[in-house]
Each structure stands twice: as structure tokens, then as C-alpha cells.
């Protein structure tokens, strides 16, 4: 989230789209309820189904799954056309005035530089700004230049007329316009809308671009960096933010640093590429400090072994094949299926249930030599080899994989921290011992490491240095404590640390206070630079539980620790005008105090706290431009402007934005493994648009192991609209079979008014809802793995599976 959970209470308008906030985050949803009852806020929900969030909303509109770019693109067009944008904010804080290179073009659904064979944009050289002699991007503050971002954006979205948007989304035009009209009122300074989204936006082959479109809307309205505004991802797990923060995705390092590609063998080039210089005068471009974060990380990992002479052990780091995607989970299981993976550690993860195309996943797992499952529960993955009748119809005798189940403790049985959606690191203490033989994950992994290290030491092996030289200073080698690790993530002084003026900042061994103290000379170590400040010489700030709100702005500076640097609302400089005065007294956040010659406010300024507004430094300090981007330069796989593409399994078989170009029906830049093409179905066999989602009574595949949750939702069901049910002769409570090209499930039919047929591109589209919580282990009624139905395709940037849009057929059993 750019903002915070509590800050949602400051919103005037809450848009829940691409997510079901009340269902998936009932506790966080309290803040929406507060916004409504205390702030007279209104709640709008746009969703394929009338959800539990919609049940408490002021207005609801249906939308066809996967068409959010058409809706939001239409909204961008509406805002620009009706001049409902926050002019001063947009002119000063975004890239609307930047002039784009002549090499950039968009035609027939494709941007410049596309290689159809490779299904990639191999030449993104046109996706850039025109640079002046001074190396800075050229700008036209009058916004008249035909190639300035504003004009290009206006042109791009002028194609998303209300009629065309409605044709694609299936949302009735009048409902669409009513919502757009209400959203447009939030362009007034001081009136803010917050957008709450989740996997309804991420789980698409164009998911990242959907979210970008929403960010563009918020920028036009001047809502980013404002109380009650922002672009807010409601994350799907209590510590998933922690997972991405610590770089546990295969292409990341902690703190959103990135692993090098195979082609990046030279250390200084690697660092330079990640440390962009400012593209406009006076801008901060904070990633210029990348090297300091990287070196401090290497010192934390390799300790004394990492020195300037060996480029801080750069050669120890793996380099990615397959471009930036690396070894995402879809890639891994594809490699598994081709015998390229010997063994797999499955830690707190249930891929058999969670990944798309369950039948494919079973086949992949069966090719492993060994599988280690570390989990508190007996997951489907750990039982993939056992025949569970129709729910897991495998031939056990033919599976040669050796499976080890190591029971682990749960969060309440360990000390540690969780990082939530709003970037708060909250410490928790062990409440009870784990049952039976369960052991903490740290104990298991550390035990493995110390044993492997010993084996490498005594028996040798191929390239043992990264293991032998891993810095392991913990008191108990096979069980580092959570505290030791937390302190390491924060960072400490390796040798004496001084500031720019030579003053002593920290003695060797002392905890550092802020990531601004990190150096690239080996004097500092930090396991995760964004966590710096969470455990300082003052102690464990993550353990703070002071909920005072002195400014009555729902800002709780002393509750736990927020990264970065305890900033609660990101880009908060944008809440004040170029002179440093808040856009609205009602929505004060940070402002320039001329007397004290500093920035102050209810939050830690996300900015250089002592720089005068006259200097013209802009709020988006991580970007080399200093301003927010409508034009994403070369950062996105599909193009600098979001464009609507159909899901890979589309009920209408055409992209209404480009009805004549069959190459751009679906995303031209999404990765599709060769073997996946034949697993895709078409509308003549599978006419209905299926989508998967969660129920509030369950968490994924965990809580079916818990009796109380099972009582609240005991049995697998699918949701079918009344009209479709009548057509098929299905009554509520009947058993139905839902099938896709990849397999089928059977479930009870819930027949509902909450899913209505949509008019899409001149035909009727029915949507079928498929909750995912059942499987063949647990105390709930056994069920099929819902992801059997989902295609094995991911987003072009993140590889997140397209679990939300695919084609199915439904029959009464």
C-alpha cells in the first residue's frame, strides 16, 4: 500500500475493484466502515460478482473478468475529456510535460520494437524521452508538443470511448458513467479517493498493467501522496509483504535489489545500470545510492569475505537465465516436467493446490527425485503421490519421488515479525510450543546449512565458496534467534561509520539508525536496507504499540515500524503544493515550515527534509525523473501505456480494441511455454467466463484443516447466475461439473442473483464463480483442486498466474 490501513478512514471515496476487501480483509475493512460512518465516505464496488463488499457498498457495477484496463482506460479518457484533473498537481508532479522520443509508436495494438517470433519487445529504444545536450529529458510545460506525454496519453485513451469500454466490459454505460462522474469529483484538491485492490487485478496476464492504469487515474486526480488516497494493494497473506521485501522471489535480492542477468558479469556495469542519474535538474533519483545498499547486503551475507578487491563477492551471486523473470514458480515447474530439477524444497507453500493446471503440476512433481515439504499442515503437495479417488487420481506405483515431510511451527510458536500490506513490521512473541516434533523453519534451514557446510569443508565439491564463506556469526549455529536476524536486517556498523562531515555515526558493532547511513565502502552491513531503522540502538521499534494519533489524522507514528524510515504514507511531499503548502487544510500531511527551514508534519517526510521548495525537487524521489510516470518508459513488458488485451481464454474470441489484428487478441508480451498452447480452450467448447476467488470463512487451503472454519463453509461450491442455471436446468444445491480444457471439478451449485449475464461485444457472456478452498486433506468435505481449471500462463512482468479469467463449461451431474 502507498498509504496505510488506518488512513483509509480519511478517504472521501473508496473504490474497491480487482479485489473483495470485506471478504478477504474483514479486519482491515473496518477502516472502510470507519470512513463511511465517520467521514461520510461513499463506497463503490466494481466486480464480476456482487460480493460481500458490494453488500455494504453505496453503488455496485458488474464487470467482465479481465477487462479492467478498458474500464480504467475509459475513465482516463473521461477525466481528460471533462477536464476533471488536478491541474497543478499533474503539471508539476507528473511527466505530462516530458517529450517522448520519435522512435516511439503505437499501431494496431503493438508498440514499436516488437519481435513476433520471440513474443517480446526486443527493441525498447523508442520507449524513452528526448534528451537534451545536458543529458536531461526535454520538457514542454505548455503541454502542446505533439509528442509530450500528455498529448500521447490523451490520444492513446481517446480510443476508450464509453461505448467501446462498455462493449468490452459488459458494464452498462449508464452505470459506468455514474461511477466515473463520482470518481471525477475527487479531482478537487482535498477530496480524495482511495483504491483498494488485490488479486482480482494481479492474477491476469496483463495484471501489472491493470494496476498501472489505476495509478494513472490516481495521479490525474492528485490522490497519490494524500491522506485517504493512494494505490493500495491489499496483500493476500499476513507476511507476503515480508516475503517480497526480503527478496524471496527468484529474481530479487532483499530490499527490491535485483539479481544480475547472465549478461551482467561485470560488477560496475551491474551497479551503474541500477543507479540512474537524475533526468531533470535538481531531482534526487534516490536509487543512485543502489551501490550502498548492495555492498551493505553483501557484507551482511559474506562478512569479512566480501571486499572491494573481489567486488564484494559479486561472483557468488547466481545470474539469471531467461531474462529478468528468472526462475519464477511457473518456470520451475515447467523445468521440473522436463527433468531439469532433481529436488525441491517446498516451504510453507502448497503448489499442487495454488498453481494453475493441477494435473500438469502433479506430473511435474512426479518427475522430482526428492521433495521436502516443510509445513505445519499435511498439504495436498505432501500427498501428491497418494491416490485420493477422483480428487487426486494418480497411480502411486509409478511415482518414484522420495517425499520428506518436516513439520514446522506456526507464527504463534515463534518470535519474529510480520510485514503487513501497509509496510508495518510488527513484532510478535512466541505464545506456545509447537506440537509434536514440529521445529521452526530457521532451525531446519540452519541445521541443513551447517551440515552442508561441514560436508563441503571435509569432502570438497563444486564451487563451495558461497556456502563456506556465508557469514554465520550467530550464538547457536544451528538456531539463529529471530532477534539476531532482525538486527542483521536492520544493519550495523562493521567498522567505524562517519557521516559526510567526518562525525562519528556508529562504532563497530552498533546498530545503525537509518539507511542514509549505509555506505559502499564495506563499513556497513544491512540484510535489508528498507528495514534499516527497525532495530536501532534504541531497541526493537517493531515492538512498539503506542496507538496515539496526536494530529487526528489516523497517523500512528509510534505503532511498530513502517518501512522506509517509518514513513507511513509514501510520496507524502505530493500532499503539498510546489511552494510547500498543503493542497488542503483538511488533508494536511507534510508541509514546509519556513521558520524552522525544514519539512514537518504528521508523517516522516518522504523527501529531503531540509530542502527548500524553491529548489524544485519533486516528490517522486525514487524516479530519475523526480515525477510520477504516465509514460512507463521501458519498465513494462507490454508497453509504456497500458492497453486492453483479452485474457488468453476469451469468451468473445476477439479484441474489440483491434478487431482485425489477431496477433493482439491477448497480451503479445506474456510468456507462454510451448506445451501450454494446446492446453488452452476456446469459447465454442467452453463458453462461460470462469473466475476463482476466496471466501471470508477460509484462508486458502489451510483452514479446511480447522473444524470451526469447515463448519462455516463445509463443502465445495460454485456460483452460477440464475439465468444460466435456468438454461442448464440447475437448481440451488444440485451437483454440477465445471470443466475447462485442462480438467474438471465437481461441486454444489449455489444459484444466485448476484451474477448477471453481461452484454459483451454483441453477445451474452455468463460468468461462473469458483471459490478455491477445497482439496483432499483436512476436515472439511473433500473437494477438487479448483486450480485444475486455470491455464498455465502468467503476467508479462511478474509471471503471476492468470487465475482470474479462463473459460469453462458447466453441466448438471
Amino acid at each position: 500500500m502507498t498509504n496505510t490501513w488506518t488512513d483509509i478512514g480519511n478517504a472521501d471515496l473508496v473504490l474497491v475493484m480487482g479485489g473483495n476487501a470485506a471478504e478477504a480483509h474483514p479486519c482491515g475493512f473496518r477502516w472502510v466502515t470507519e470512513a463511511k460512518s465517520e467521514n461520510k465516505a461513499r463506497l463503490i464496488v466494481v466486480d464480476p460478482r456482487f460480493t460481500r463488499t458490494a453488500s455494504v457498498a453505496d453503488y455496485y457495477a458488474p464487470i467482465r473478468t479481465g477487462t479492467d484496463i478498458a474500464f480504467l482506460g475509459g475513465l482516463i479518457n473521461y477525466l481528460i475529456d471533462n477536464d476533471k484533473i488536478q491541474h497543478e498537481y499533474v503539471r508539476n508532479y507528473t511527466d505530462v510535460s516530458f517529450i517522448v522520443s520519435e522512435g516511439f509508436s503505437f499501431e494496431d495494438g503493438l508498440f514499436s520494437g516488437y519481435d513476433a517470433e520471440k513474443r517480446t519487445y526486443t527493441d525498447k529504444s523508442g520507449w524513452t524521452y528526448e534528451l537534451g545536450e545536458d543529458g536531461y529529458a526535454k520538457v514542454d510545460p505548455t503541454l502542446q508538443h505533439p509528442r509530450c506525454v500528455f498529448q500521447l496519453m490523451k490520444q492513446h485513451y481517446s480510443r476508450y470511448t464509453p461505448e467501446l469500454a462498455s462493449q468490452i466490459c459488459g458494464t452498462p454505460v449508464d452505470r459506468m458513467l455514474k461511477i466515473w462522474e463520482e470518481i471525477a469529483t475527487c479531482s478537487t484538491p482535498g477530496k480524495t479517493m482511495t483504491i483498494l485492490y488485490a488479486l482480482g487485478w494481479t492474477q491476469h496476464s496483463i495484471g501489472a498493467q491493470i494496476i498501472r492504469t489505476a495509478a494513472m487515474v490516481q495521479l490525474l486526480l492528485g490522490n497519490v501522496g494524500m491522506p485517504g488516497g493512494g494505490v493500495n494493494a491489499l496483500r493476500g497473506h499476513s507476511n507476503i509483504q515480508g516475503l517480497t521485501d526480503l527478496g524471496l522471489l527468484s529474481n530479487l535480492l532483499p530490499g527490491y535489489l535485483t539479481l544480475g542477468l547472465d549478461a551482467e558479469q561485470d560488477y560496475s556495469t551491474y551497479i551503474a545500470k541500477r543507479s540512474p542519474k537524475p533526468l531533470r535538474p535538481g531531482q534526487m533519483s534516490y536509487w543512485q545510492n543502489y551501490g550502498k545498499f548492495h555492498v551493505s547486503l553483501m557484507k551482511a551475507w559474506y562478512g569479512p569475505a566480501a571486499q572491494a578487491e573481489n567486488d564484494w563477492c559479486f561472483d557468488y551471486l547466481p545470474k539469471l537465465e531467461y531474462g529478468g523473470a528468472g526462475y519464477d514458480v511457473l518456470r520451475m515447474f515447467d523445468m521440473m516436467s522436463r527433468d531439469e530439477v532433481n529436488g525441491y524444497f517446498c516451504q510453507g507453500f502448497n503448489p499442487l493446490a495454488a498453481l494453475p493446471d493441477k494435473n500438469r503440476v502433479v506430473k511435474s512433481l512426479a518427475r522430482l527425485k526428492w521433495l521436502v515439504v516443510m509445513d505445519p499442515l499435511q498439504t495436498e503437495t505432501s500427498e501428491f503421490w497418494r491416490n485420493h479417488d477422483e480428487f487426486n487420481d494418480v497411480d502411486t506405483a509409478s511415482i518414484q519421488t522420495e517425499v520428506f515431510s518436516l513439520p514446522t511451527t506456526c507464527f504463534a510458536e515463534e518470535d519474529g515479525s510480520l510485514v503487513n500490506s501497509t509496510r508495518w513490521l510488527q513484532w510478535h512473541w512466541k505464545a506456545a510450543d509447537g506440537p509434536g516434533e514440529s521445529r521452526p523453519d530457521i532451525w531446519i534451514m540452519s541445521g541443513l546449512h551447517t551440515r552442508l557446510r561441514e560436508l563441503y569443508r571435509t569432502e570438497g565439491g563444486v564451487f563451495p565458496e558461497p556456502i563456506l564463506n556465508l557469514h554465520w556469526p550467530y550464538k547457536v549455529a544451528h538456531e539463529p534467534s529471530a532477534e539476531e536476524l532482525a538486527k542483521e536486517f536492520n544493519g550495523y556498523a562493521v567498522t567505524e561509520v562517519t557521516d559526510a562531515n567526518g562525525n562519528l555515526v556508529a562504532r563497530p558493532g552498533q546498530q545503525l539508525g537509518a539507511f542514509s547511513q549505509l555506505k559502499d565502502d564495506g563499513s556497513t552491513a544491512s540484510g535489508c536496507w528498507i528495514f534499516c531503522g527497525s532495530w536501532t540502538e534504541q531497541g526493537n521499534l517493531m515492538a512498539r504499540r503506542d496507538n496515539s494519533d496526536p494530529y487526528h489524522m489516523k497517523q500512528h507514528q509510534n505503532w511498530a515500524f513502517a518501512w522506509p524510515a517509518n514513513r507511513r504514507i509514501l510520496y507524502n511531499r505530493a500532499s503539498a503544493d510546489p511552494q510547500g503548502k498543503p493542497w488542503s487544510e483538511r488533508k494536511k500531511l507534510v508541509w514546509w515550515d519556513a521558520n524552522a527551514k525544514g519539512w514537518t508534519g504528521t508523517d516522516v517526510p518522504d523527501y529531503n527534509a531540509s530542502i527548500d521548495p524553491e529548489a524544485g525537487m519533486n516528490p517522486f524521489i525514487m524516479n530519475p525523473e523526480g515525477v510520477a510516470r504516465f509514460f512507463a518508459v521501458d519498465k513494462m513488458a507490454e508497453g509504456p501505456f497500458p492497453e486492453h488485451y483479452e485474457p488468453f481464454e476469451t469468451p468473445i474470441g476477439v479484441n474489440p480494441m483491434h478487431p482485425k489484428n489477431r496477433k493482439v487478441i491477448s497480451s503479445p508480451a506474456a510468456r507462454v511455454f510451448d506445451s501450454v498452447w494446446e492446453s488452452l480452450g476456446t469459447a465454442d467448447e467452453f463458453p462461460y467466463a470462469g473466475t476463482t476467488y476466496r471466501l471470508t470463512e477460509h484462508f486458502h487451503y489451510w483452514t479446511k484443516h480447522c473444524k470451526l472454519n469447515a463448519i462455516a463453509q463445509p463443502e465445495q461450491f460454485v456460483e452460477i447466475g440464475e439465468v444460466l442455471a435456468r438454461e442448464k436446468g440447475i437448481a440451488a444445491g444440485d451437483r454440477v461439473r465445471v470443466s475447462s480444457k485442462r480438467g474438471h471439478i465437481e461441486a454444489v451449485a449455489v444459484v444466485t442473483k448476484r451474477i448477471r449475464p453481461l452484454q459483451v461485444n454483441g453477445q451474452v457472456v455468463h460468468q461462473v464463480g469458483i471459490p478455491l478452498h477445497w482439496g483432499f486433506t483436512g476436515v472439511a468435505k473433500p473437494g477438487y483442486i479448483a486450480n485444475t481449471l486455470v491455464p498455465y500462463i502468467g503476467d508479462g512482468n511478474t509471471q503471476t498466474p492468470e487465475s482470474k479469467s479462463f473459460l469453462v463449461n458447466v453441466e448438471k451431474v
Binding site: A22, E23, P26, C27, F29, R30, T33, K36, S37, K40, R42, F50, R52, T53, A54, S55, V56, D58, Y60, T696, E697, K707, L708, N709, A710, I711, A712, Q713, P714, E715, Q716, F717, A731, A732, G733, D734, V748, A749, V750, V751, T752, K753, R754, V779, A780, K781
Partner: protein
């Protein structure tokens, strides 16, 4: 809450103590804030250590499908299509209403099996329960349920154990959106007023408080979007009253029956005294003809002084 706070006991005519003055409490359920998450169902089961059966899906989100002796509160989901075509999903937390004039208590034949406290809570004392099921019939809301295990009646206790030590009920504590709030009945009515004003400002003209007179008011109240049509919410009774059968059965029937029994006893006594004990009479319709020894001459007239 102590025995001094009991103001009514089932099947008992002994007057209630009146020394202690206790504030009436109420649980307010704002249906417009409820997201149907069932946390209240789970919290109730956890606090009271109940584990119902893992049932089946009957084609709705209602799980369990009905109240049971092990599920003292359930969410009931109703899809309501308005006249303008818009949809509403009305989600109501069902459970004991803790009536001021409780039908269950009136109907219960077992002395002290059901008690009503001065604060409004109506509680079952299962040790005195005979499992007759009259409370189920007597309840205008069809709430109590007889357990298959111990044949006792069970329902929501309004967490009388928690309330008696100054804590809020478990469902109140857990509700993530504070759709369920708890406090004095006065405070809850005041809070409801604010909520109703908010709902009206959002276009719900008939928003109101459900605190039905027909049972003397209740200590579980609802804020409804459509207070003019409570039955929209999965059959919440529009005008709940205790079935006249209960009034009849526990009312006039008992004294009438006693009267009838007393009259029968008196009648029997008087009959015995006046008519005498029942004797087996000789057959009158056929004169018995004795053999030759006592043959009477029909010409001889006999005089019966009793005959008029």
C-alpha cells in the same frame, strides 16, 4: 449476575426480588455494517466450546443452514431485488432476541429452567431443563434447539458469563466492522439513531430500529435498511408475538383445568354422598321368574308405597 437479579423464572409464581436496580443491556446489530464474515459464529463457538457437525452446502452461503444446539448464532443471507432492478444482499445474524416478554420462559413447564435477569438477559439453566421443547414452540423467532446428546435446550446466552464480569459478549468483541455493539439499551438506541440518520442520508428512506413491541421490546436489536419490511431479512417476523397457544396453555388453561379437576373431585364427592357408591343393579328390563316355590298369583295386587 446473581440470583437477586432474576426478575422472572419459568413455571414459578413467586414474586421477583426488587431491591437491586440494574441497568438494562442490549446488543445492537447494524445489518448495514455487517459483511457476513461469520466471525461472530466462530467466536461464539469458541467461547462456549461448541463444535457443531461439518455439514453440507445446501446451495447458499448459509452455513450451518440453521441454528442448532451447537450453533447458537448463524448468518442468514437473502438476495433482494429492488424495484429499480438494483440488488441488495441482506445478511442478518440470527439468534436469541432476549425478549422483555420471553415466550420461551412463559411456555416452559420446568420451574427455573429459564430465567430472566433484570438486565434483560434471558438464560437457560440446563440442569433444570426437561427437554420438552415447549420453549421452541413458545419462541416467536424459532430460536432454541434441543440437543441430540443431552436432550437439553440451548440458545445464545448473550454471554451472561462475560457480561456478569463487565465484559462484552464474544461476538461483539470479535466483529471486525463493529456491526455488533453492546452497552446499555439507552446507549444502543442512541447509537442506532445515528446509524439510521446515516442510512437515510444514503437513500434508505425506511431505515429504522427493530425493537418489537409485541414481545415488550428486545435486548438484541437490529438496525435495518428496510425497517418497514423485517421479513425481507430471511423471515424476521414483522410483528412478533408470543403464540396465543402459549398464553392459552400457560394462561387460562391451567386454572381452567384445575377448576375442572376440582369440579370433578367435588362432583364425584357429592355424587357419592347423594347417590351412593355404585352398586351393581339387578336387571330391570326382564322380570326373573322364580321356580314353583314362590309363584305369585297374578290376580293378587301388591301395593308399593314408593310409587306415586
Amino acid at each position: 449476575m446473581a440470583t437477586q437479579d432474576i426478575i422472572a423464572r419459568s413455571a414459578t409464581t413467586t414474586p421477583a426480588p426488587s431491591i437491586r436496580q440494574v441497568e438494562e443491556v442490549a446488543k445492537l446489530i447494524d445489518v448495514s455494517k455487517c459483511i457476513g464474515c461469520k466471525a461472530c459464529q466462530v467466536a461464539c463457538s469458541e467461547w462456549n466450546e461448541l463444535r457443531d457437525e461439518v455439514g453440507s452446502n445446501h446451495g447458499t452461503y448459509d452455513n450451518p443452514i440453521d441454528l442448532t444446539a451447537d450453533s447458537w448464532t448463524v448468518m442468514r443471507f437473502t438476495e433482494h431485488e429492488k424495484d429499480d432492478g438494483d440488488l441488495e444482499w441482506l445478511i442478518r445474524k440470527d439468534g436469541c432476541m432476549h425478549c422483555a416478554d420471553p415466550g420461551c420462559l412463559k411456555a416452559c413447564p420446568s420451574p427455573g429452567a429459564i430465567v430472566q435477569y433484570a438486565n434483560g438477559i434471558v438464560d437457560f439453566n440446563q440442569d433444570k431443563c426437561i427437554g420438552c421443547g415447549y420453549c421452541v414452540t413458545g419462541c416467536p423467532f424459532n430460536v432454541p434447539r434441543i440437543s441430540q446428546d443431552d436432550k437439553k435446550a440451548y440458545k445464545c446466552t448473550l454471554c451472561s458469563d462475560r457480561v456478569s464480569v463487565g465484559m462484552e459478549p464474544a461476538c461483539v468483541k470479535t466483529c471486525p466492522t463493529s456491526a455488533i455493539v453492546f452497552g446499555s439499551k439507552d446507549d444502543m438506541q442512541r447509537h442506532a439513531d445515528e446509524r439510521i440518520a446515516d442510512l437515510k442520508s444514503r437513500g434508505y428512506e425506511h431505515a429504522g430500529l427493530y425493537d418489537p413491541d409485541g414481545v415488550g421490546g428486545t435486548h438484541v436489536m437490529y438496525v435495518l435498511h428496510h425497517a418497514d419490511k423485517p421479513s425481507l431479512y430471511a423471515g424476521l417476523p414483522d410483528q412478533p408475538v408470543i403464540s396465543p397457544m402459549v398464553s392459552l396453555w400457560k394462561g387460562i388453561t391451567k386454572p381452567l383445568a384445575l377448576l375442572a379437576m376440582g369440579a370433578a373431585v367435588l362432583g364425584g364427592f357429592f355424587h357419592y354422598v347423594r347417590v351412593g357408591p355404585q352398586r351393581v343393579e339387578e336387571e330391570q328390563d326382564e322380570p326373573t321368574v322364580e321356580p314353583a316355590a314362590h309363584q305369585q298369583d297374578p290376580a293378587v295386587q301388591t301395593y308399593d308405597p314408593k310409587q306415586p
